[in-house]
Each structure stands twice: as structure tokens, then as C-alpha cells.
């Protein structure tokens, strides 16, 4: 996958071998799903050397998710590059999916408090220390040493798509063009595989992609536009570190209080 994966486990009692097993899992995924290794399952399927009936259960799972998000996004996400030749690249899902599975491995081994970061896609479980949530920063698009926002994450996944480090590597599969509305978009939700795929699709959809993510149950989005504005779903606010616990859309309930304040203003 050409990326750095860190696994930060805070359970003192966890068997160190389980970390080794997680690392082996990532190496295994890299071999099978790499788009660079000619003999990987992805490459063989892409080249037509492998029939869709003969693929592994894992590949079936990944492709099913790719198909699902393809439908949900009306084609803004597509693991298949339908040019000539047709090429399969499920990388946008595989990274997140492999981390979800790694989390399940750690969980089965008794891990309760950990954070996995795969090239900027983050999954957290439990707490880094008692009484404190994991704090996941969203990289500032212009200032690499700063963050734009900090997300408080308990059992959550955070995925960001953007074009600021490796250049524009996401194209609109429907047009072949480079999306131009967002610098980056961050998606928060229960599954990193989905958050990963959603952030890719939403990056293509641009500003409208933020609302599109908001329509997916359990997921929120935080987008930074090329005009340096932040557009986020209302649910995102309560996930941030600076939000009062629960500060969110209580506007309907706030209406009487606003009314009372305005009554004074009109005195």
C-alpha cells in the first residue's frame, strides 16, 4: 500500500504477539491487494486472469463494499477505471477495510484501548488513558505542522481525502477530471472502510459531498474548500474537541430563549 501504519495499543496486558499478528495481516493485505505487484489478486482480477467466481472471500467483501458505495454515490466512487484497458483499484477501500479487520483482531485478543493510523486514516477504540478521549487532528491543508480541527474519538474511524500531499491523485470517475472544489474532506463514522470510501466519493462530489456524507447514517463530514472555508455537517460539531459535550443542533429548543433575548433587545 506504500504507506506507514502505526498501531498504538494502551492496554498494558495485551499479548505483544497480537501486535505482530496485526502487522503480518497488513503485509498479507499488501501482497494480495497491491495494484503494483503483478501477481496480487487485484492485478490478476484486473487483468482478467482471475474470474470473479474464483476470488477470495476477502476480495468479495471489498468489491461488494466498492459496488455499494458506487451505487450510493451515483458513480462518484468507482473502484473500476472504466477506460481502456479496464483497471481495478480498490485502494480507497482496502486501506480502511484492512484497519477495520486489524481492529477486530486486536479486539479478539483482548485489546480495548488502541489507535491505528494507516497513512492518515485513523481508527480508535476506547481511550488513550482513563477519562480522556483520543484526540485526532485533521491536518491543516496549508500548514503541515498545524491542525484545522481536533476530533474527539472513542470508537470511531476518521478518514481524510485530499490532494495536498501527493498531488491530485483522485479523479472524477464519471468525467476523468480532477475535482476542484475541496482541498480536503474528512469523514468520521463507525467503519474506516466506509469512511475511506465516502471521503473519496465526497472529495469528487465537492461541496455537495459534505451533505451527501451527512445523509449516510452514522457518518459526518468536515470539508475544507479551495477558498479556505470549512463546511461541515451539523453532527460534526459535537465530535470536535472544542465542542461542549453535546453542543449541537438544539436550535428548535433554543428558539424560546432566543425569543426572550430578542424581546429584551426590542425593549
Amino acid at each position: 500500500m506504500g504507506t506507514v501504519i502505526s498501531v498504538d495499543v494502551r492496554d498494558a496486558s495485551l499479548d505483544p504477539d497480537s501486535i505482530d499478528r496485526v502487522m503480518s495481516w497488513f503485509h498479507d493485505v499488501d501482497e494480495r491487494f497491491s495494484t503494483y505487484r503483478g501477481q496480487s489478486e487485484v492485478c490478476r482480477l484486473s487483468a482478467g486472469e482471475l474470474r470473479r467466481d474464483d476470488i477470495s472471500t476477502d476480495m468479495r467483501q471489498v468489491l461488494a463494499l466498492c459496488d455499494e458505495v458506487h451505487r450510493e454515490s451515483n458513480g462518484a466512487f468507482d473502484a473500476w477505471h472504466r477506460g481502456e484497458p479496464v483497471r481495478l483499484d480498490p485502494s480507497a477501500v482496502v486501506k480502511g477495510w484492512s484497519v477495520d479487520r486489524a481492529a477486530a483482531l486486536l479486539d479478539a485478543a483482548g485489546g480495548r484501548n488502541f489507535c491505528i493510523n494507516a497513512g492518515g486514516d485513523v481508527l480508535t477504540r476506547g481511550q488513550p488513558e482513563p477519562g480522556r478521549s483520543w484526540r485526532v487532528g485533521v491536518r491543516h491543508p496549508h500548514q503541515g505542522d498545524k491542525v484545522a480541527v481536533v476530533i474527539r474519538s472513542v470508537d470511531n474511524a476518521v478518514a481524510t481525502s485530499g490532494a495536498y500531499e501527493r498531488g491530485a491523485h483522485i479523479v472524477d470517475p464519471r468525467t476523468g477530471e480532477t475535482p476542484s472544489e475541496l482541498l480536503s474532506i474528512t469523514v468520521v463514522g463507525p467503519s474506516l472502510a466506509r469512511a475511506d470510501a465516502y471521503s473519496t466519493a465526497a472529495y469528487v462530489l465537492g461541496r455537495a459531498g459534505v451533505g451527501w456524507v451527512g445523509e449516510r447514517s452514522g457518518y459526518d463530514a468536515y470539508g475544507i474548500t479551495v477558498h479556505n472555508r470549512v463546511v461541515s455537517t451539523s453532527g460534526f460539531a459535537i465530535r470536535t474537541a472544542d465542542a461542549a459535550s453535546g453542543a449541537t443542533d438544539t436550535s428548535d429548543d433554543a428558539a424560546p430563549s432566543v425569543q426572550a433575548a430578542l424581546d429584551q433587545a426590542q425593549g
Binding site: 485533521v138 463546511v231 451539523s234 474537541a241 443542533d249
Partner: protein, 168 residues
């Protein structure tokens, strides 16, 4: 109070719903704050139309950011006004409204329900309403970073050296 003012207020609140935005701290955040400032702007068009019901949440993020005094809003006196403490099934809600140049320039939360789960439910019922604000940079203590595709060996080496120290 003329009925029209009430209509305008309703529309203003609708505008607040759509543009409900939060402030990112410009100082190092150390933890959850007791009360968060909710910066918002009335939508001039909504005020002018005096539309009754709240607009349907839209996929299209709104870019309205600068409050513009309108005829309906300019009847407000400048100042800061704290509303009543309203008890709801989700908890107490109290806000402070800041009026400048006759228009609502800010709505701050004094008290908001603290039950995160229930608030999340309200949010889900309400659908994907969008916040809009100006991007700010902050230095903050974080455990992990999202958004960087770390491809360089330098990064890996740096991580390794840090880990070495951590284990020393």
C-alpha cells in the same frame, strides 16, 4: 410587538439552523470546554421574505457568512442579550444573542444539553444540516493525525526514532 417581527425571528432562527457554525479555538485546546461559542449569521434573504417554517436542510452548503442588517433586523438595539433558561427533554438551553448595527451578529450558547448521545439523536433527526465557517489553524495536542499520506521514508524514520526514545 408586531406579528411581523415574530415571523422574522422565526426565519432568523431558521437561518441559524442552517448556518449553525462553531468556532475553532485559536489557542491550544486542553479539553472540552464548558460552553462553546456558536457563531452564526442571520440570512438576510430569509428575514426579508419572512418565511414561516424552517427551510428544508439542503445538500448545498450555504456560503452566507457576513451578517447584513436588513429592514426587519435593524429594529434591534445593539448589545448582548441573554435569553431565558429553557428546560427541554434533552436538558436546559440558554443562549446569548449579540446584536450589532441592528443585526444579530452572534448567537452564543450559555447552556446546552450535555447528554452527547441524545444530542446526536437530535442531530440525526434533523438531517445533514451544514455549518460554514472560515478555516483556522490551531496548535493542539493530538494523539493521531488524519489527512496526511505519509509516504516518505523520512517520516517512518522519524517515527522510529521517536519510538526509540519513548522506549529508552
Amino acid at each position: 410587538m408586531p406579528a411581523r417581527a415574530t415571523v422574522a425571528i422565526i426565519a432568523t432562527i431558521a437561518g441559524i439552523v442552517l448556518l449553525f457554525s462553531f468556532q475553532t479555538p485559536d489557542i491550544t485546546a486542553t479539553g472540552p470546554q464548558r460552553s462553546s461559542s456558536v457563531r452564526s449569521s442571520p440570512q438576510p434573504s430569509a428575514l426579508a421574505q419572512g418565511a414561516g417554517p424552517a427551510p428544508t436542510p439542503s445538500n448545498q452548503p450555504s456560503t452566507t457568512a457576513t451578517p447584513t442588517p436588513s429592514a426587519a433586523a435593524s429594529r434591534f438595539k445593539d448589545g448582548r442579550y441573554t435569553g431565558g433558561d429553557i428546560t427541554t427533554r434533552y436538558g436546559d438551553v440558554q443562549v446569548r444573542v449579540v446584536v450589532s448595527r441592528g443585526a444579530i451578529s452572534d448567537v452564543q450558547s450559555v447552556t446546552l444539553p450535555s447528554d452527547r448521545q441524545r444530542s446526536a439523536e437530535i442531530s440525526q433527526e434533523a438531517g445533514p444540516m451544514l455549518h460554514d465557517e472560515v478555516l483556522q489553524a490551531q496548535s493542539a495536542e493530538i494523539d493521531s493525525l488524519s489527512g496526511a499520506t505519509y509516504t516518505s521514508d523520512a517520516y517512518a524514520q522519524s517515527v522510529q526514532s521517536a519510538l526509540d526514545q519513548a522506549h529508552a
